[in-house]
């Protein structure tokens, strides 16, 4: 028992170290301090700046549109790819799986640089069209959608599709109304993963984005190089807002998965 307490203390210390910087920044975001150490007084001006500066607002909205847009494209491509690959010949599906694995294991620097060379340098596509950026993010995200949908297809009972065909459904209808609904959990987690990957990306965006466009990552990195204090402290507020959003999302997910567990245990009890 003594050991258990020691272990828990260790866990708490590690959590504290992991969260301390974010928490300190959160506290200072509510003051008019321009650097850590000198608290002067409570102030909301960082939050006012964050929500009223057009540059910051555009950057946040742009990041979100890019993330949800490329995640949507990636989800469609990756899901169809996984379904098609599962029913293809062994050799074909192995080729798809290998190609799919490349962006997963590759360094983002290399992925971003190679897409920039192909599209911008060789084919002469202008970065201002956003095409290289979107293609870069879809390339980053789609493989992870494929990987989250695939296990669900493998778990699926193949006779359900056959039954739908026997009952007179066309293959397209059977797919739409019988197969895809069963894959929803995999598709949803793939989409969520795609959004977080796009939101967190720095390298692919740096190599493919239009000069006048910034994602949160590229903006923050450039801001740390500059010396504009109002922007710097407004980003503390942004960090705090994102932290709270993540906590809220995690809390909802956690409650849901807890509920799902209760539901299934209830069903099991019924079955018994």
């Amino acid at each position: 028992m003594k050991k258990e307490i020691g272990g828990r203390i260790f866990l708490c210390v590690m959590l504290l170290l992991l969260y301390l910087p974010i928490l300190i920044l959160a506290v200072y975001s509510f003051t008019d301090a321009t650097q850590i150490g000198a608290i002067r007084g409570f102030s909301l001006h960082n939050y006012v700046t964050l929500f009223t500066t057009p540059e910051l607002r555009d950057m946040i909205i742009g990041t979100l549109i890019l993330a949800f847009g490329s995640a949507a494209i990636a989800t469609i491509l990756g899901t169809l790819g996984a379904i098609g690959s599962f029913y293809s010949k062994e050799r074909v599906s192995r080729v798809i799986a290998t190609l799919n694995q490349i962006p997963v294991v590759n360094a983002d620097v290399v992925t971003g640089f190679s897409i920039c060379i192909l599209l911008v340098v060789v084919l002469g596509v202008s970065k201002d069209t956003y095409i290289p950026l979107v293609i870069g993010h879809v390339t980053l995200c789609a493989p992870f959608v494929y990987l989250s949908v695939m296990p669900k297809i493998k778990q699926m009972d193949p006779s359900i599709y056959e039954a739908a065909l026997d009952l007179g459904a066309t293959p397209a209808r059977a797919l739409r109304e019988v197969v895809i609904p069963q894959l929803v959990p995999g598709i949803v987690s793939g989409f969520g993963l795609a959004v977080t990957l796009s939101l967190d990306d720095y390298f692919i965006a740096t190599y493919t984005k239009p000069a006048m466009f910034d994602t949160i990552s590229t903006y923050v990195v450039n801001a740390t190089r500059g010396s504009q204090t109002t922007i710097k402290t407004a980003l503390w507020a942004l960090s705090t807002v994102i932290f709270l959003v993540v906590i809220a999302v995690v809390a909802v997910m956690n409650r849901r998965s807890g509920k799902a567990k209760e539901d299934t245990s209830g069903e099991q009890r019924k079955a018994a």
């Binding site: 258990e4 910087p21 200072y28 098609g84 190609l99 490349i102 293959p171 740390t224």
Partner: protein, 261 residues
């Protein structure tokens, strides 16, 4: 064309060929040509005869090895203690450990930078230390998650059997639990080692003027030197391939975004 299920993969296959395979082929072509399109191995020999480039390669290996080791030394006890503990809501605790992964890395590193500035004063004084601290702070959750998943799936009966057969706690750990958690450790290592060689923006943000392999691509990109940059990318790709072959256990895949939760 008649509708069949396998045809659904055509768009994705076309996409993968165009935007995954083709860029790598172009990369290869650029790495072995010069500005006029002539074949050359100059980029390759240039890299391996330039002491600065070799120094950067060795330095990134050093940063990556130390970062991976520190992450492993911190993550294994966390994962082990949590997996073995009698806590009721373990899944919530592990979620709290990996939650930083979902906060934009640039904001987390900004926070870390502010704290380190207070502690160290001039960040440029300790480049290696700060590189390791920054990367560890950034990548630790990627090491915790796969190890935790592996340990918590271990069959407790195996440990009990070892104890029954007369092994003490230390022997049980060293000869049963640790070997069985190797798949998680390997997948954690592959999640941390490669980013630690390439993720140069963490260094940049900590006012670090030292170079790792990724920084070389960045500087060639800034100088519009596509041929030199391609060769660095290709060398990195070779390292990645080697590394993947060494640590392959088809586990690391979906863990990058924490989807296993």
């Amino acid at each position: 064309m008649k509708f069949t299920r396998k045809n659904l993969c055509i768009p994705y296959v076309v996409y993968l060929v165009l935007f995954v395979a083709l860029p790598l082929i172009v990369l290869f072509y650029y790495a072995f040509t010069d500005g006029t399109g002539q074949f050359t191995v100059q980029n390759l020999t240039g890299f391996f005869t330039d002491p600065n480039a070799i120094g950067t390669l060795l330095y990134s290996f050093a940063v990556a090895i130390v970062t991976t080791a520190v992450c492993l030394l911190l993550a294994y006890p966390i994962a082990y203690i949590l997996a073995m503990s009698s806590l009721k809501r373990k899944s919530t605790v592990i979620m709290i450990f990996v939650m930083p992964m979902w906060i934009n890395f640039s904001l987390r590193i900004t926070a870390l930078k502010e704290v380190l500035t207070v502690l160290e004063g001039n960040l440029a004084m300790y480049p290696f230390l700060n590189a390791v601290i920054g990367m560890t702070y950034d990548f630790l959750p990627f090491m915790i998650l796969p190890i935790y998943t592996t340990i918590s799936k271990l069959d407790g009966a195996l440990r009990e059997a070892a104890m029954d057969l007369g092994a003490n706690e230390r022997e049980t750990f060293l000869r049963v639990t640790l070997p069985l958690s190797m798949p998680g450790i390997m997948s954690g290592i592959s999640m941390v080692f490669l980013p630690a060689m390439t993720n140069y923006v963490v260094l940049d943000m900590l006012y670090n003027s030292t170079y790792i392999m990724g920084s070389l691509i960045g500087s060639y990109f800034a100088a519009y030197n596509w041929h030199g940059g391609s060769m660095i990318a290709l060398i990195l790709l070779a390292i990645i391939c080697l590394f993947t072959l060494l640590t392959d256990d088809d586990q690391g895949e979906v863990q990058r975004g924490g989807a296993l939760l």
